[in-house]
């Protein structure tokens, strides 16, 4: 692909370009506002690079198709919004259980149900973590700018391949539809699927290797015949109900993420070194939060911002550390306080929330108002 410089892009387009740069070669999706531009863009661009675009009959089959493609060795992606995200939960759980790398983009809109298709929200933070049945971890990334839609999508594919896990790009309607002038990076890191280190007879696709090393997923058709199922399975992939094997299967899902938090979690700290007040904000709201910090500072209030770029696993340890230094957390978000709850869990200090669910972006003034109120 030609390297671009200084482009005027919107977030959805940048996300799709990031996917192509990461080597994504199969997209399966279903039209839904405000994510549809991703599908439209890829329907034009994928054929040019020999990739596959297919519009499926619904979001359930879109998720199924990208899992199938990944099993055949092709990096794959789907994109959707609220109602479609709900439909994808079933096969998202399958991808987690069967450890199939893939990327799911959710451009959040106002909910519940059909909600407000054309208005942004951050209402799916908890659904992205707990939307499927059963217990398993998930990686969720949250971009705040058009450039980050590009770079984080590449990162999402890298994490998916590295940890053999589905990764969710949790965008919001503002980030997805916002236009910005961006300079795409000249150099990017792309992680491809590693080759297996053992011959077919020794290959156990779900083996629990010492040191937490993850067994590479060999594409179907390359001589490594194995079984993939959504049922609890033993290390060879076949269903099991033996207690030890069940525990091993489920523990492995959890610990492959939990033991690598330092590698997976990304955060941004803004003017936090000497801050008394820490705003915790993500996605498009972080843009208002940054401005609120600047305004507060100009008034002599020592404010700063922590921006979780990785929403799940939640950067709890970072918050715990910061809570030793600051007096107050302020959590603005376009829902009733989904991340606010996590902040409360992470630190015993005072935390207040700024919520907005009317389909409008939280303004810097709203955040400032809350800071003033709390400072009294």
């Amino acid at each position: 692909m030609k390297r671009h410089k200084d482009l005027l892009l919107h977030g959805n387009e940048a996300c799709a370009m990031g996917a192509l740069a990461a080597g994504m070669r199969l997209f399966a999706g279903y039209p839904i506002t405000p994510s549809t531009e991703i599908a439209e863009f890829l329907s034009v661009e994928l054929p040019k690079v020999g990739g596959t675009f297919i519009q499926m009959e619904d979001e359930i089959s879109s998720m199924g198709a990208i899992i199938g493609a990944s099993l055949a060795g092709v990096k794959s992606m789907t994109a959707t919004s609220g109602p479609g995200f709900s439909l994808m939960q079933e096969n998202l759980g399958f991808a987690s259980m069967a450890e199939i790398p893939c990327v799911l983009v959710n451009v959040m809109r106002g909910g519940p149900s059909t909600g407000m298709p054309t208005r942004p929200s951050q209402g799916d933070v908890m659904q992205s973590r707990w939307g499927t049945h059963g217990a398993h971890p998930i990686i969720v990334l949250s971009p705040q700018s058009v450039l980050e839609c590009y770079t984080l999508t590449i990162h999402a594919f890298n994490l998916a391949e590295k940890y053999r896990s589905p990764v969710i790009m949790l965008m919001d309607g503002i980030v997805g539809h916002m236009w910005e002038n961006v300079q795409l990076p000249e150099k990017i890191e792309v992680i491809d699927r590693p080759e297996p280190s053992v011959p077919p007879d020794w290959y156990d696709p779900y083996d629990d290797l010492p040191g937490g090393e993850i067994v590479p997923l060999v594409p179907f058709g390359e001589g490594y015949r194995y079984h993939v199922t959504g049922m609890v399975h033993d290390k060879s992939g076949f269903p099991t109900l033996v207690h030890e094997e069940v525990e091993q299967c489920l523990d492995k899902l959890t610990f492959k993420i939990k033991n690598n938090l330092h590698d997976i979690i990304r955060i941004e700290e803004y003017m936090l070194e000497d801050a008394d007040i820490c705003i915790v904000a993500y996605g498009s709201v972080a843009r208002s939060a940054r401005e609120a910090v600047n305004i507060a500072r100009s008034w002599g209030i020592k404010a700063g911002m922590l921006r979780p770029i990785t929403l799940w696993p939640f950067p709890r340890f970072h918050l715990e550390n910061i809570s030793k230094r600051v007096k107050l957390f302020v959590v603005p978000e376009m829902n009733y306080g989904q991340v606010y709850g996590e902040v409360l869990k992470s630190c015993p200090k005072r935390a207040v929330r700024v919520t907005r669910v009317d389909g409008e972006l939280i303004t810097p003034a709203q955040i400032i108002e809350k800071i003033e109120e709390a400072a009294l």
Binding site: G64, S76, F94, R225, V228
Partner: protein
């Protein structure tokens, strides 16, 4: 018989997955035998075959056979298979589903896979019931027949799977029963060989959950019913509409030569200047 067993053994995963889950008298094992013999005849290696299945009694087939196997979520097998085929067109993909799996929860995926004419082979094992969950009525349970959720008899009109997929655009449609095991071998061979979306309906007996509730007798009685009511397709067409009764056509019902999805898509890639397998 000995040769058949040898062939079967070659494709089973005996050390991992047995004993199997199927009840005594179940027809799914006969269908699996036919599938194995058909694949053997195609000459494809085990590595070239991907067996995808849904959930339910028939869905367990993928566990027992030594191919690249994928046991998906309920009703979604065709969507997973679509992704595999588009990602690697060289693979030969066979999708095994039950009647509830394929036509109830997976009905939407079935009709659209037909419409797209993707080069897959669907084997639908139709035993007229949800067996694994304990005998609830499915979209192919005949009217007035009993099920654990239709204790007073089903009041829903059943699907004719072959008519359904024909109307939706499948390239190859065929039907056989567990009584017609050799015909099933031949039809599956043709279906796998066929370019485009092929559907083979294998009518099968479920003596435990369906037969018992509906006084169908032993597994052998149920298979004899297949024998007595199956009519070859050309002969079936000559039966006057009023005299059809419980009879149904078997054999090849549809065989069309149309470009499949990938052939059309390759043209798009070519026009866009891309390069593809």
């Amino acid at each position: 018989m000995i040769r058949t067993s040898e062939t079967m053994y070659k494709y089973l995963r005996p050390d991992k997955t047995f004993p199997h889950v199927w009840c005594p008298g179940c027809g799914i094992g006969i269908v699996m035998g036919a599938l194995v013999r058909a694949i053997e005849r195609t000459g494809f290696t085990k590595d070239e075959i991907v067996l995808v299945s849904g959930i339910g009694c028939s869905g367990r087939m993928s566990t027992y056979l030594d191919f690249n196997t994928l046991h998906t979520t309920h009703g979604r097998a065709l969507s997973f298979a679509t992704g595999i085929k588009l990602a690697n067109p060289k693979l030969n993909i066979i999708v095994v589903m039950g009647d509830g799996d394929a036509t109830a929860i997976g009905g939407n995926h079935l009709i659209h896979t037909c419409r797209r004419n993707i080069d897959l082979t669907a084997l639908i094992v139709n035993n007229n019931i949800y067996g694994m969950t304990g005998g609830q009525y499915s979209p192919t349970t005949p009217m007035e027949h009993k099920a654990s959720t239709a204790q007073y008899g089903s009041i829903e009109k059943p699907f004719d799977i072959c008519k359904l997929v024909e109307a939706c655009g499948a390239s190859f449609v065929a039907r056989a029963t567990t009584y017609h095991a050799k015909m099933l071998d031949a039809l599956l061979y043709r279906a796998i060989d066929k370019k485009g979306f092929s559907v083979v309906e294998a009518m099968s007996q479920c003596p435990v959950q369906y037969g018992r509730r509906n006084k169908k007798g032993s597994p052998v009685d149920m298979m004899m019913w297949f024998k007595d009511n199956a009519v070859s397709n050309p002969a079936f067409k000559k039966i006057p509409p009023g005299e059809v009764g419980e009879q149904f056509p078997v054999g090849i019902l549809v065989d069309l030569d149309e470009p499949d999805y990938l052939e059309r898509y390759s043209q798009i890639v070519k026009n866009a200047g891309g390069d593809r397998l």
